[in-house]
Symmetry: C2
Subunit: 214 residues, 2 copies
DNA sequence: ACAAAAGTGTTTTTGTTACACCCATGT
DNA sequence: ACATGGGTGTAACAAAAACACTTTTGT
């Protein structure tokens, strides 16, 4: 009952951010192929901790929203060895500078989800699932705030929703809905965009927290 | 990068059914404690397959709805050894007789979720999470049909919803909603309950399938 | 005749969608 | 003055909730 099979247990992370008006994933280059950041879970390491550690080591990202997605364990998902992957997705706030973070040890690149190269193993399937989950969660949680910088305008928040959902939203209805959720508050500051009226800046009321709606 | 840590990977299953008007879980007795059915994943075995196999071996249940829930991997969840559990939940149709199934090799018992004994390891937390997921899924899928026998009355289906949600529902609104989903059809038969008017029997249009709503 | 659950529509309330103009700023 | 995105309310519609009586059977 306590037999231990030889297997490789890994944590793999899909780090999402909005880059240049598109939903993008941070990929890591390994030899000639691209893969998700991630790697083996340590012998005494928590799964979430392993995911955070690999993300930090390979990309410099830390202190971000992380959520377990699904565990992939088909016997043949990695040719040659038995590998089980606990997949996560992470949300990176726009404006977060990778340069601020510890220099990454691997070559990394933000790639738009609609324009992904061939990925290692079943990583493409992991990205697809993560994307579906993220889009679904927009409808019943305040998860989009995890993609926003500390201060943001309502138009920026709306754009994030539109990019993830892939459809345009009505400005007045969107604002009504978001403000009714009571999850953001005006800072009192104004965004100094030029060429038009300045926009009010908002911040999350509970920055780290994702609330459920209804 | 390919180091293999010695660890025990298991699949654990929360088998739900409606028993005597309550939501119940099938537990397995091991020595003096109760635990969820489940056990080690084989070296060349798919995770889902391992879950189905252990469920069949330990309880005789087969051919039922099964869905991955979450993977638990805290280093200390099992004292002494590193154990990672991929948790599943399963739905057993009311009226399914365990006697029909292969004789179970372990002592098993259906226990109401509100009346659970102390369980091994973190199995209580797994049950709690599974229960939340099941209740949430009622709202946006036809998953409740997986708990019904082949033929059932609308009142029986309503009772299942009420038991899982823990609240009473309006009969007319419930029927309107369910019938609008176009997921069940009348068989033409009547249920011969005694002492009152017979009820029309229904069956699922797509028995194995769980549809999403909206 | 009575008890017990089955069956059936309409009204009210709530939430969602559609929609157009003025405002503040930089050039 | 004009170009640009910021900001605002209301009416129509759809969906959800509230609500009570008649029907069919067994005893």
């Amino acid at each position: 009952m306590t037999l231990r099979i030889p297997l490789l247990l890994t944590a793999e992370i899909v780090p999402f951010a909005i880059c240049t008006e598109r939903l993008a994933v941070l990929l890591v280059q390994q030899a000639t192929t691209w893969r998700l950041p991630g790697g083996p879970v340590g012998g005494e390491e928590d799964l979430d901790a392993a995911a955070r550690r690999h993300l930090a080591e390979q990309t410099g990202l830390g202190e971000i929203y992380l959520e377990q997605l699904y565990t992939f364990g088909e016997p043949n998902r990695d040719s040659g060895q038995r590998a089980v992957a606990v997949a996560y997705y992470a949300l990176v706030r726009a404006g977060f500078s990778l340069a601020d973070a510890v220099p990454a040890i691997a070559e990394t690149r933000w790639v738009a989800v609609d324009d992904m190269p061939v990925l290692a193993l079943d990583h493409a399937a992991i990205v697809t699932l993560a994307r579906r989950r993220l889009a679904a969660k927009l409808a019943y949680s305040t998860i989009a705030l995890q993609l926003m910088p500390e201060c943001f305008t309502l138009s920026q928040l709306q754009a994030v929703h539109e990019i993830i959902l892939g459809e345009l939203l009505d400005k007045r209805n969107f604002r009504k809905r978001i403000l009714a959720l009571d999850c953001i508050e005006a800072t009192g500051e104004m965004a100094r965009q030029y060429g038009h009226r300045p926009a009010r800046l908002f911040r999350a009321k509970r920055p780290g927290q994702v609330d459920f709606i209804k």
